[in-house]
């Protein structure tokens, strides 16, 4: 069994959390390294970014590449190559969603400036309304409780981690007619 070591930054969950959850679900032991001053360790990473997963000291950068690698080896990436491709497609669609949604989310979480109401209207709501109907449709089609096929994949972990965030701000936002 290879030795796994994960590098990520403290104190956010972010995409490091997706990697941790995948490793946990696969029941793979790993060293969970969280840096306070991650930029001091940039030189140890292939692309100057985190997360990085070291597999017997050989690095894999990029969260989705890491997750797909672990998931594929442990039956968490779909049962066929076509299902695996659909898991990838959902991940990519989430990335498209996130590139728009984060213009609202990051300032809302305190990382960045801006008029939160305007950002929510201009970016948060449209991004949500473009993406989550696709997720709903997918769940209806599989009818298994999972996004792809009949068992859990890393796409489920990715989306499930996002939903509480959305749920929370929906519950905490002021009552409005529309």
């Amino acid at each position: 069994m290879p030795a796994y070591k994960l590098y990520y930054y403290f104190p956010i969950r972010g995409l490091g959390e997706l990697v941790r959850q995948t490793l946990a679900l696969a029941e793979v032991e790993f060293e969970d390294v969280r840096f306070e001053n991650w930029k001091d360790f940039k030189g140890q990473t292939p692309f100057g970014q985190m997360p990085v997963l070291f597999v017997d000291d050989k690095p894999i950068p990029q969260s989705f590449a890491i997750v797909r690698y672990v998931a594929s080896l442990h039956g968490l990436a779909g049962k066929t190559s076509f299902e695996a491709a659909w898991v990838d497609a959902i991940g990519d669609q989430w990335k498209d969603f996130q590139s728009e949604f984060k213009k609202f989310l990051f300032p809302k979480l305190g990382y960045g400036e801006g008029d939160l109401e305007a950002l929510k209207t201009d970016h948060g709501v449209p991004a949500r309304d473009k993406f989550f109907p696709l997720i709903e449709k997918q769940l209806k089609e599989t009818d298994s409780g999972f996004l792809v096929g009949s068992s859990v994949t890393w796409a489920d972990l990715l989306i499930a981690e996002q939903v509480p965030q959305i749920k929370k701000w929906i519950e905490s936002r002021p009552e409005t007619k529309a």
């Binding site: 100057g48 590449a65 491709a85 990838d88 990335k95």
Partner: protein, 210 residues
């Protein structure tokens, strides 16, 4: 043999890597190029994720270009020789995707280059050059670390080699010499584009700027 239909518009864009994978593997496919108006009107409603490109394999659809590229690469043997190499190919492709997202303001200016050359110049300097330097520094490092195989990962072509080469060709068409400072990648492009089956495709494919 499955029946493949690749749906996109008349551009290289997000579908060219998939097209090149079909060509290199000698796999027949239907190269469907929709009219954008027709797409907006009719097809959007019925395709998965309402987006182009999508791949139809015996009437089962797969959206998202990166997922399509990886799926075809795996089917045809261009994804990497080991799970670890596959992960490294994926990581480079993801890094390219991040770069592509950084380029968005420049990409808009690129499509209107004729109408507004000043904005094109401005975005080239403010957006494209820094983004290029960040990614291609990484690519040069990976290429060098891979020894003299001529490819980015392992000792044979993978789909990320195709992604990078065609992108370089598009940008060089708009800004000659744009990648001259990156000799490894210039070499990669030369290696990739001189592969016999691909060269044939490059000569006969519909000629589009991007």
């Amino acid at each position: 043999m499955p029946e493949y239909r690749l749906h996109y518009i008349n551009m290289r864009g997000l579908a060219e890597c998939a097209r090149q994978l079909f060509v290199l593997s000698g796999t027949p496919y239907e190269d469907i190029r929709h009219d954008p108006q027709e797409w907006m009107g009719q097809l959007k409603a019925v395709s998965a994720f309402n987006r182009l490109p999508f791949l139809d394999i015996d009437d089962k659809v797969l959206p998202q270009s990166t997922a399509i590229n990886r799926y075809l690469a795996k089917q045809f043997g261009f994804a990497g020789k080991t799970p670890f190499d596959e992960a490294r190919v994926d990581a480079l492709a993801d890094q390219f995707k991040d770069y592509w997202a950084d380029l968005v303001p420049f990409t808009y200016a690129m499509y209107s280059k004729e109408k507004d050359p000043e904005t094109f110049e401005q975005k080239k300097n403010e957006v494209a050059i820094p983004a290029r330097d960040k990614l291609f520094h990484i690519l040069e490092k990976e290429y060098k670390a891979n020894g003299s195989t001529g490819f980015l990962i392992g000792d044979s072509l993978t789909w990320v080699d195709l992604l990078i080469s065609d992108h370089m060709d598009v940008l060089e068409g708009l800004v000659p010499g744009f990648f001259d400072d990156f000799p490894g990648m210039m070499n990669l492009k030369k290696t990739v584009t001189s592969m016999a089956k691909l060269k044939e495709w490059l000569d006969k494919r519909p000629q589009t700027k991007y």
